[in-house]
């Protein structure tokens, strides 16, 4: 099981419940650039520590938000490509359905792959609905634009006798001929994110890696869709290394201390939805039928959409943002406690989903401070990781 550390590099000093939205519309006067500079420095130190501890690194990107200061995934990865030695560097990922220039993305991928001596892994995501506003991308047809951007990036990365021409529905180039080209051949591993079962089959067809975030027991449904399609393609059993799961992780010598840390990290979940309602439903981001259904349900006071809930061991669903740490642990959304407890929780999750080869840990989130983050990561790497290497992965799904 490969381990990857993830943080959103939150600007938590601006997390005031009085703000209607932490995303899109919160003026950046609430960010002190001197504080931001210090936080970047600190978060980068923590990633560097991960490299020393044998933990890989994953970054994502969000825009115009106090929840995440990584406005470009490639900026920190470019830095990390030179100041780390062994860690694999994953961008998960680029919102290529929203970006104006996919060829620029391909150029940056090739650069970082070379800078890092082939340690780079690329990820492509749709981005949350609220990301439509900062990007200004037309929400109608975004899925088609994502698909075209992906095909163009892959062709740019793998064409070595160019230039080639591209006259698509969304993108137009007379000369695509990127320099440099990626070090890893034919291209760095490609990841995609899915939080519902819809995209799983397509991701399998691309032989892409499927990452899913905080989906707990529901991730098994996603993995099953992926593995089924992989078999249907005639490729046998999908390797567990094709699958990844992101969860909150907090380790400490004492269980209560670990739970305290987890509560701070879970500020990520609690603030994720601190957003004006209309930013959740850009037109065309989901089919009209789904938006109509959302309108119908929006007037029901107690209604919580399924994607905002987690499944408990008794089958009930709990609102993610209101869940206690104990509930998040029960739901496999957070692995929290002493090293022994965390190991047992991850082991149980791995068994439940039938083998997951990549664990993306959110060991820093919210306002968890540097000392606690370092302690948690260090304990995890020393006490938990060695035992995870012995977990059965590829035998699980076959047995399931």
């Amino acid at each position: 099981m490969k381990i990857w550390q993830f943080t959103e590099q939150a600007y938590f000093p601006a997390w005031d419940p009085a703000h209607e939205s932490l995303r899109n519309s919160l003026p950046n006067k609430f960010l002190d650039p001197q504080v931001a500079a210090s936080l970047y420095s600190r978060y980068t130190d923590e990633w560097q520590l991960c490299d020393e501890l044998g933990i890989n690194i994953m970054v994502n990107e969000h825009h115009q938000t106090a929840t995440c200061m990584t406005a470009s995934a490639h900026v920190p990865l470019a830095i990390l490509s030179r100041i780390t030695k062994k860690a694999r560097l994953l961008s998960l990922g680029h919102q290529i359905g929203n970006r104006l220039d996919p060829v620029r993305v391909a150029e940056e991928i090739a650069m970082i792959d070379c800078y890092s001596q082939g340690r780079y892994e690329m990820g492509f995501v749709r981005g949350g609905p609220f990301e439509i506003w900062p990007s200004n991308a037309q929400p109608v047809g975004q899925t088609r634009r994502f698909g075209e951007a992906y095909r163009l990036i892959m062709k740019a990365l793998t064409t070595h006798d160019g230039p080639f021409n591209w006259e698509g529905e969304f993108f137009h180039y007379r000369m695509v001929n990127i320099w440099p080209r990626p070090l890893q051949q034919p291209h760095p591993p490609a990841w995609f994110v899915s939080i519902g079962p819809g995209p799983g089959a397509w991701i399998a067809e691309q032989r892409g890696k499927l990452g899913t975030f905080l989906t707990g027991r529901d991730s098994k449904i996603l993995f099953d869709v992926y593995r089924k399609r992989w078999r249907e393609m005639g490729w046998g059993q999908a390797p567990a290394d094709q699958l990844g799961y992101l969860a909150i992780v907090a380790v400490a010598d004492q269980e209560e201390e670990a739970k305290r840390r987890a509560h701070q990290i879970a500020g990520y979940i609690r603030t994720g939805a601190q957003l004006s309602m209309h930013f959740f439903s850009p037109p065309g981001y989901v089919p009209a039928q789904a938006n109509a259904q959302a309108m119908r349900m929006s007037t029901r006071k107690d209604y919580v959409p399924a994607y905002a809930t987690v499944v408990m061991s008794d089958g009930s669903r709990v609102h993610q943002g209101r869940a206690t740490i104990d509930q998040l642990i029960d739901a496999h959304v957070a692995f929290v406690g002493t090293p022994d407890q965390v190991y047992e929780q991850i082991k149980a999750y791995n068994e439940y989903v039938g083998g997951c080869g990549n664990l993306l840990i959110m060991a820093q989130g919210g306002d968890l401070n540097h000392a606690d983050t370092v302690d948690s990561l260090t304990l995890f790497s020393r006490e938990v990781m060695p035992r995870l290497q012995a977990l059965p992965l590829d035998t699980m799904a076959a047995a399931a």
Partner: protein, 267 residues
């Protein structure tokens, strides 16, 4: 007042939902971004003055969205096709909000089948020279309560809960919003160069504006008048962005007077 019953017409390779009622001189009514409600009294009133043709634009209401449609240009050409197919002459072309933009795009291409043009609270042009000034309030970024307050002089009177809507009405609302985004997401509800072609509109033009409109203010309306030779400007009190809804009688009266239409019912 009873709802009008829309029919379906085949236009080249796609279908269009369309109200076709009354007799006499053709009036084509092009709806705004919220679509068309067959229960609007304005439709009955207009149908008493002549032949009312009120389509749902491709992608709106129950009209199909052809796969290659992506701009107001496509809508303008589709309606020029419709005028030809129905052999309409001397049309009174009425557009509100988005429909006004479409009407202007039709008219700069050809006024051959148009007799009179009416633009009501029309979006479609760029007025401000300061890049940071939005001419048109952003209905994709404002809260529903804010939009309502800007779009109606008396918001409470026109507010409708989703609970009072049928499943089909909600689906139509979702389709309308999606289609509005397709045609108007960016540049936001305007064609940056349309103002430079307005000189091609060589038919009598009436610009009607809700005095309380805060989606597109009356000053924005006056910019239309500046661009179209001989255009008249009339403010409608106690109405905002939807004068055809809030002041339907006055709206129809202004059009009847302007285009010389007599009420068939009293003739």
């Amino acid at each position: 007042m009873e709802a009008m019953a829309p029919g379906v017409i085949r236009l080249r390779e796609h279908t269009l939902e369309l109200i076709d009622a009354g007799r006499g001189r053709p009036m084509v009514f092009l709806h705004g971004g919220d679509g068309i409600d067959p229960r609007w009294p304005v439709l009955q009133h207009l149908a008493s003055l002549g032949r009312l043709i009120a389509p749902s634009h491709p992608g709106f209401g129950h009209s199909a969205l052809p796969a290659h449609f992506r701009s107001v240009d496509d809508l303008a050409y589709a309606y020029l096709d419709l005028f030809e197919q129905m052999n309409l002459e001397d049309v009174v072309l009425i557009g509100t909000s988005l429909g006004g933009w479409i009407a202007a795009e039709i008219a700069v291409r050809s006024t051959a089948r148009i007799g009179h043009l009416v633009l009501a609270d029309a979006v479609g042009i760029r007025c401000a020279t300061d890049e940071t000034v939005a001419d048109i309030a952003d209905v994709f970024s404002l809260s529903p309560a804010d939009i309502e307050a800007r779009a109606y002089a008396d918001p409470a009177r026109w507010r409708r809960s989703y609970d009072d809507c049928s499943d089909d009405e909600l689906l139509v609302m979702a389709r309308n919003r999606e289609a509005l985004s397709l045609y108007g997401w960016s540049p936001y509800l305007h064609n940056p160069i349309l103002r430079h072609w307005l000189h091609r509109i060589d038919r009598p033009t009436l610009v009607l504006w809700g005095a309380a409109d805060r989606i597109t203010t009356p000053d924005y309306g006056r910019a239309w008048v500046e661009g179209i030779a001989g255009a008249q400007f009339t403010l409608i009190d106690n109405a905002a962005h939807h004068p055809h809804v809030e002041q339907a009688d006055r709206f129809v009266r202004e059009i009847a007077g302007f285009a010389g239409l007599a009420d068939n019912r009293t003739a």
